[in-house]
Symmetry: C2
Subunit: 220 residues, 2 copies
Amino acid sequence: MSTAIILVSGGLDSCVTAAIAARTHALAFLHLNYQQRTQGREYQAFCELADHFAVEQRLVVDVGFMRQIGGSSLVDSSIPVPTNPESGVPNTYVPFRNANLLGISVAWAETIGASTVWIGAHQEESAYPDCRSEFIEAYNRMVKQGTRPDTDIEVCAPLIALDKAAIIARGLDLQAPLDLTWSCYQSETLACGRCASCRMRLGGFAAHGSIDPIPYIGED
Amino acid sequence: MSTAIILVSGGLDSCVTAAIAARTHALAFLHLNYQQRTQGREYQAFCELADHFAVEQRLVVDVGFMRQIGGSSLVDSSIPVPTNPESGVPNTYVPFRNANLLGISVAWAETIGASTVWIGAHQEESAYPDCRSEFIEAYNRMVKQGTRPDTDIEVCAPLIALDKAAIIARGLDLQAPLDLTWSCYQSETLACGRCASCRMRLGGFAAHGSIDPIPYIGED
């Protein structure tokens, strides 16, 4: 059974991605801490997901350079997190984020001999240029050129064509532990329910016709 | 005059790359500290080169994840630095290093509005998979897909086809401050003259028929 590295933010998408990969691979979990607002809560979700999937190989990497570089409300607290959809690329876009996250993943894959790297990106977030299948395909062509000739590492993005409701459906089918995940961009105790990420998550559950298992501010 | 980000390790290649870019661009210098053996000396060279080129926009980023990931004698002190050429990919190869260095550079370019990112990679080091023109070309295609649609960032590798003697010739033509550079993988005071990087540098000066301006261990 070959090893799959899963980029696990702690959110819904990475949880479902891990559940998909777990059917055919041994799992290694990679978490990137970029000093985002909800860093502690996301790390807690990462640990609980890793325990759930009984993952032994875990790597937590600090990518503080994303805060140094700035340019996004997720890493620059002087920029407010939007609550309503914006036109164009949202201010939550972290410049070239997925390329950087995948770069670290592929380096780890090359070192530990993993065959694949999995990311929960999906095109519903297609206003982010690095969440499109064209990007993943171009990334894979670059990986072939930039790694040792005796390796054959592939980036897999199994959710790329799914919307949030379909991702939730997939997760429920696979009995993925959605209750352990965290998506809120704003809060670390109860999810705010108002930020762009909460709205997308809640919209997905509503469209799927099921109830989000995590608690939100203002619920009884 | 558009801005060029130069990846400046502090070595000969990045110095000559900066001298080439300086003819047509305003310069921004990026230095990546990956806790390599000679980190302090390389940072000194970076600062002296930035002063020489009067660069105001400077960014120094810690990429400690390279040490966490390991897999190279440059970042893992338990692996000896080779003194003789090895067959295949040398143990000084840091897995997927250039992809990671370029990823940070492109993120900074997207944030500050730089048009180009320059790297001193060259194919004489072609045993490193990420020092070949095929890699740079594939990287550029990926950048087009992974950055905001209103950007057009290009990675430039002007030394890619040159050998060390030709790089030195180019640097001397442009009056690049080769005396401020540092290449040794092993030592931080006087260059060791024996590691793979010193050998390549000294071989280049010998082939060019000129004298390396930096001091070496054992010289009078």
